[in-house]
Structures are given as C-alpha cells and as structure tokens.
Amino acid sequence: MTPLSTALLVLLAPLGSAALIAALLPRRGAAAAAVSVLAATVVAAGALSLALGGARFSGAVEWIRFGSFSLSLGFRFDDLAALMLAIVGVIGLCVHVFSLGYMRDDPARARYFWGLSIFMFSMIGIVLADNLFMMFIFWELVGFSSYFLINHWRERTSASDAAKKAFIVNRVGDFGFILGIIVCYWENGTVSLGELGAAHAAGTLVYSRLIPLLLFCGAVGKSAQLPLQVWLPDAMEGPTPVSALIHAATMVAAGIYMLCRIEVLMVAPSLQVIAWVGTLTALYAALCAVVQRDIKKVLAYSTLSQLGYMVAAFGMGSAGAAMFHLTTHAFFKALLFLGAGSVIIGCHHEQDIFRLGGLRTRMPVTFWTFTVAVAAITGVPFLAGFYSKDAILALAYDTNPAIFALLAFTAVLTAFYMLRLWKIVFLGEPRSESAGHAHESGLSVTAPLALLAVLSAIGGQRGAYARAFGGVFSGIGEPGGATHGIVLATSLCVLAVGAAAALAFYSTDGTDSLQVRFPGVFGFLGALRASFDTAYDYYVARIQQRGALILNFVDVVGLAGVVVRGLGGAAEFVGFGLRALHTGRLSNYVYWFLFGLAVMWAYAAGVL
C-alpha cells in the first residue's frame, strides 16, 4: 500500500463512517459507535505508520479551472504534517474510546459519533492540505463540526447559544483568513504551499505585512486568541470528549498548524504583532482561570493560555518550539479534559469544583493520571510540559525580555490555578452527595487516561522527535549555557512559587478563599473575564443592530417596495390608464381617430 493511498484511506475512512452512520444507523447508537471507533482505529494506525515510517510525499489533482485560475486538491505530507497527523490520530482514538463509556446512556449517541467522524475527516483534511484554498474548505468544515458537536444537547438553550457564538466568532476570523488568501493569490499568483516555499527559496516571493496578518486572523478565530477568544469557554457546553478532542488538542491547534504552514510568508513586523497577541492572550486567560468554579471552564481558560504560549513562540520566530508545545499540550490537555470527564460522570454530572472533593481515594486511576497531567502542564522537570515550556521561555529570554517576564508570570499563574483545581477537586473531604458516592467508570474510560498519562510523561524527549520529524524540530535551538541556566532556574522557581501559594492559600472547605479574603481582587478578575463579552454585546446590540435595521429598512422600503413593487405598480398604473380608453362608446373612438389624424397632419405640415 503506497503512502499516498494510505493517506487517502486515512482521510476517507472517517467520511465513510459518517456516511454509513447517516444512511443506515441513525438510531442505532451502539452500532454507530462501533463504526466510528473502527474508523478512528484505522486513522490512528495509518497515521502512525505514515508518520513513523518516514514516508514523505506530495501529490495533487486539479479540481476546478476558471480560465487562468485553478483550484486543486492535494496532499503535502512533510514532517510537519506527519507530526500533526500522528497527534490527531492518537488523540482521536483515545477520545473515541473514551466516548464509548462517556456517552453510553445518551439517546442521541449515533448523531454524536456522526459528528465526531465528520470532525476527524475535516481535521485530517486541514492537516494534509497542500494549498490554502483546500485548507480553507476543510477549515470551514471543522467549524461546522465544532458547531454541531457543541450543540449536541440541543434542548439546552445555553448549548445552542454557545454553538452559534462559536460559529459566528469563527466566521469573523475566517473573513480575515479568506481576505488573506485572496491577497496572497493576487500578489503571488498561487496559494499552493509547495509553490510558495519554492518561491521563498528562490527569493521571488512577494512579502507584505498585510498577508500574514490577514491569514493570522484565521488563527485568531480558530485558536481563540485575543480578541476572539470569547467562544472557547462557552464551547464547554458540549460533551467533555468533544471538549477534549476539539477544543483542546486538535481543532484549536489548527490555527497554530496553519501559521507554521505559512511560515514562509512571515515578515518581522507581523511576527511582532503575532508574538504580542499570543503573550497577552496567555496572560489574560491565566488571570481569568483563577476565579472559575466549573471544572471545564478552568481547563478552557488554561487551553487559551497555552495556545497563547504557542502563538507567542511562533511570533518570536520558532515554529518548531510552537509545534513542540502543541504536541505536549495535546497530550496533557486531552488527559486533563478526559480526566475531568471521568470525574463528571463519576460524580453524576457534577461540574462545580466546590461541590467535589475527596476523590483521591474514591477515583484512584483518575486521580493519578490527573496528577501526572497537572505536573506536566505546570512544568515539573522531566515530564513533557517541562521541555516544551522551557524551550519557549528560552526563546523569549533571547528575543524579548518583556515577553519573557510576562510569560514567566503567566507560568506562575498556571501553576497557581492548576494546583488550586487539583487540590479542591481531589483532596479533602467530599462536599456533596454525588462526590461521596463517586466511583471509577469502566475500562473504556480509564484506558485512554492511562495511555495519555504515559505519553504526557515521556512525550518531552526531543531526541526521539527530532529523529522522526527532523524538519520540524530543527528550528528549536539548543539554548546556550547562561540562558539555559537562567531559564531552568526561572521555571523551577515559578513552579515552586505558584504551587506552594495555591496549596497554602486554598482550603478544602468548599469556599473560594480568594473570594472570601480578597473580594476586590476576585471581583476585578471576574469583571476582566466578562469584559469582552460585555463589549461585544454592546457593540452588536447598539451599533451593529442599528446598522442592520437601517439596511433592513432600505431593503424592505427601498428595494422591495420602491424598486420592485414600484416598477410593477408603475406598469400597473399605465395599464390601468390604457384600460380606461376602452369605453366601448363609438363617439370616443371617433374622437381618438380625429386626434390621431391631427397628429399626422401636424407632422406632415412640419409643425410636429
């Protein structure tokens, strides 16, 4: 089986699964689940064999041609794509297996697995795409899948609202994205990544500040950077496996992936902007995470923060560091979400952390895997997150001290809120009935947790990655001696400070200590979180709605009324007038005859 056909199989297996579910199994949840998991297994096997087997290729087929413009569909399977495909495959399989247990009692299970299959198909399309148009097509499909899956429990209005919000905010970003694609095509005559790369190597590429920034808009929307980050916390209305797959590990990472793909188009001023957007997002999200009550919301803000890290890393010039952190983040964030999912179903859908507690003894597997994940994200040495975060901090130290300071502070906050979460959920005594009766779920839930825990632990070994995906990781420089020492010291310091502060400050008695002891700070952080939503609401309700109403008025009165019905009315009026001429009376007709005669006379006499 050639690599190209393997890639084709990997792309089409989920699509086939979705088609099968839609056609034959719309009510048979168990069968749909089995089909979908089978497809995910095929995808994971294919992805790993391609990625680790070293095959790298590209191929395209022309799809549409309008004169000199042609749109082609093709694969570009280089090291970057191989790495991303491996991540998507592995995490996808874990989430599918987890969903078997998590969604066991859900009546709309078949619809859910259909959505998951469509998502896998779209995501793999983005990974394998070899030109920006094709990527944009799958980009939109991924947005649709996200909308569909957030809206899974559609009887809840909060879920539908969140899905709409996600889609609309994404759309705003995608507008910038398509503009960027058009400008790129206009300037360079092509949007094929291979051709752009070749032009870059040959020095014939047209560089402008506008193209990368417009394309970055797509990443701002999809990866939820400031100011379009408002949709991600609300997207937690979807089922937890969906949050794990889409809103933690893969879809939101698509923005980072796309940035790495278009690395050749970047210029220094644009990179500056990108770096600062990422840094500010990281800081803002970390601040918001400190005051959250819902377990999934904490993890959502944590995701935002880590995405900010990745974007900042890219903005500082190292796509390799960004991808490294993306990989490790995928492992431990998926683990965190799946662990949260395990907690949620173990405690009968209780999501408020202040009503949990004491789960250390009651859900041991979940507890230990969650602990590994927390350690990874906070940067405990030798686990995955430690290496990738260090790489970013080293890069920041060498590039921009201000960003370094902000990212270091954000790391303190990361440790702070993660340990807060860990302590309140797992330690102490149970604070509610459901926590008291918590129990582990079956193997389908715990097996993926175990696998991901292993990956979070060992997944930071750069050497192994460099052997398999050399093209990506070559961009991460080995830090020099002094930098290495300072960064190491800084990261250990922030870990210790944040963790100790959280463990000491928060108690397990069911109240939020920050709220109790420093209500001003707590209120400020809450307002900070809500500020974006309030601003958007004001803008949409006051400004945009007024504009829309005016346009609606112009359309209804002006276009439909005056132009369309007006023209019709004018014709009707003329017809009415002409109809009045048919009196049926002889004398009237004779008068008209005379009139015609007079006109002809006047004309003949030269008067007319």
Partner: protein, 101 residues
C-alpha cells in the same frame, strides 16, 4: 364666371365637417349613418369640382364608383343595424358598449 376652386373645396370641407360633427354627437345609429352618407356626398362634390377645374373627366368617373360603393355600404350597414336591433333591442350607440374594458 364660376366660383373659384377654393370656394368649392371650402364648401366641401364644411359639409364634411358637419357630417363629422353629426357622427360625434348623435346617439341614434341611423342618424350617425346618415351623417356618414353626408360625408361621402361632400367628397363627391370635391371630386367633381377638381375634375371640372383640371379639365379632365376622371374625377367624374370616380364619382360613379363612390356612388356605387355608398349604395352597397348602406345596404349592408342597415342590415347590420337591423340585426343589432334584434339582439340588443336598442339602437342608441351609448348603450351598445359591451366591448367596454
């Protein structure tokens, strides 16, 4: 001394106009028809005058045709009016307006 051609033409057009007036204002179909005949007679007068003043006989000969046609037309027209009367029971022109609108 015969009157000038202009006089005859003026008279002819005056008779024609009077006939036209009758067609416009009268409501009785038969009277309208009579006024039509009046208009025809005015035309024949003009023709004869022209023929006389140009010295040819063609105008006179033409009057023959006009007279014949007028006679035939009267016959058919009156037959129509009688048929109309049979169906409508009226010959007032302003009541015969079924082509209205």
């Amino acid at each position: 001394m015969t009157p000038s051609l202009d006089a005859y033409v003026l008279l002819s057009s005056a008779l024609f106009a009077v006939g036209f007036l009758g067609v416009l204002v009268r409501r009785n179909t038969l009277v309208i028809f009579m006024c039509l005949e009046l208009m025809l007679v005015a035309a024949t007068l003009a023709l004869v005058a022209f023929s006389r003043f140009n010295g040819t006989g063609d105008g006179d000969v033409f009057v023959f045709f006009i007279l014949t046609v007028a006679a035939a037309e009267v016959a058919v027209g009156l037959a129509i009016i009688v048929a109309l009367f049979r169906t409508r029971q009226t010959i007032q022109v302003d009541r015969i307006d079924s082509l209205r609108r």
